[in-house]
């Protein structure tokens, strides 16, 4: 009588044995004490080595969702940056190099002025040469700007 190997016995216990072979195996087990004994041992081994799953130490799904949200928020900024970059690079193609240089200079000059205004404003506050009323007025002006920008940001 042909005995089944342990590999085949595990195949049966894992439910991976083809239906035809399974029937033959079950018939064999009824008459073969040796294979029945080994089947029982393998079944016990599988039962003994079963472990329940434990809960993750943190809610991983929430962490992932936060990261995805951050990525989503950053995406419009990244797109805006690339659109700006591509448009800046295509200026010489459409308007010629000398006009492009002029265009870049205007942009650069604009940012330089913006920086100077900011620097001046900051030094005014720091040196306390400006009176309190002006600071409060400037602050009050910033509030609607902040909320307006936030609204635009959310809509994007």
């Amino acid at each position: 009588m042909k005995h089944y190997s342990m590999e085949e016995i595990y195949l049966y216990l894992d439910g991976e044995m083809p239906p035809m072979e399974k029937t033959l195996f079950e018939d064999h087990i009824l008459v073969c004490k040796d294979c029945a004994h080994r089947l029982q041992r393998a079944r016990e081994f599988l039962e003994k080595t079963k472990l329940e799953e434990e809960e993750p130490t943190v809610d991983v799904a929430s962490l992932v969702m936060n990261k995805i949200d951050k990525k989503r928020k950053l995406l419009p900024l990244v797109y805006a940056f690339f659109i700006l970059l591509v448009s800046a690079l295509t200026v010489p193609v459409f308007f010629g190099l000398d006009r492009a240089v002029f265009f870049y200079y205007v942009i650069f000059d604009y940012f330089k002025k913006l920086f100077l205004v900011f620097q001046g404003f900051l030094s005014l506050i720091l040196s306390a040469r400006v009176n309190l009323f002006l600071v409060i007025a400037a602050g009050a002006m910033l509030v609607p700007i902040y909320f307006g920008l936030k609204k635009i940001w959310r809509s994007t």
């Binding site: 342990m6 590999e7 595990y10 195949l11 894992d14 439910g15 991976e16 081994f45 599988l46 003994k48 080595t49 079963k50 472990l51 329940e52 799953e53 434990e54 809960e55 993750p56 130490t57 943190v58 809610d59 991983v60 799904a61 962490l63 992932v64 969702m65 990261k67 995805i68």
Partner: protein, 168 residues
């Protein structure tokens, strides 16, 4: 939600392979993020869970290759805390709990001694209860390789457990 459905299984799979809970949390997050970013590459003819497990498998294998997990520990006391495993559905008494804890520690200690590839097969079959076909898709092994290697892994695990029991 899809992530909540798979997070426990994925976390346990990585945790049992690496032995570190913090690392398991990080890798589970990374696997979900990678799945999210490459969802267009997902082939619907495969199980979504198998695809997810495959991503996690690649993450762990990369770390094994980089040597970051050379000294892999599957010690359950890594964080200095004892996690309760409920082996049976009913609430076990203190004596049963103690027995379960001992049994669990013994199994984890034996698993630690197995080579990573064999350990992964045991984890996927015994704890995650994946079919041979699913294991083959996750690990990239052929069906017959899964069959023979899983058998080898079980034999090694059985011998290790017997050796530990005799030593006690």
């Amino acid at each position: 939600m899809l992530m909540r459905r798979y997070q426990k299984g994925l976390y346990n799979y990585i945790y049992r392979l690496t032995g570190y809970r913090d690392l398991a949390v990080d890798f589970t997050q990374e696997a979900f993020l990678r799945a999210y970013l490459s969802i267009d590459k997902y082939n619907p003819s495969y199980n979504f869970s198998t695809w997810l497990w495959r991503i996690a498998h690649n993450l762990v294998v990369d770390h094994f290759r980089k040597g970051k997990l050379n000294q892999v520990s599957l010690n359950m006391e890594v964080d200095g805390e004892n996690v309760e495993y409920e082996v049976e559905s009913r609430d076990p008494g203190p004596y049963e709990k103690q027995l379960n804890r001992e049994r669990r520690d013994l199994i984890m200690k034996a698993l630690e001694k197995l080579p990573p590839q064999l350990r992964e097969l045991i984890v996927l079959r015994h704890f995650q209860e994946l079919s041979y076909q699913e294991i083959s898709e996750v690990t990239g092994l052929a069906f017959h390789e899964v069959k023979s290697k899983l058998f080898r892994a079980r034999e090694k695990l059985r011998k290790l457990l017997e050796a530990y029991r005799e030593a006690l």
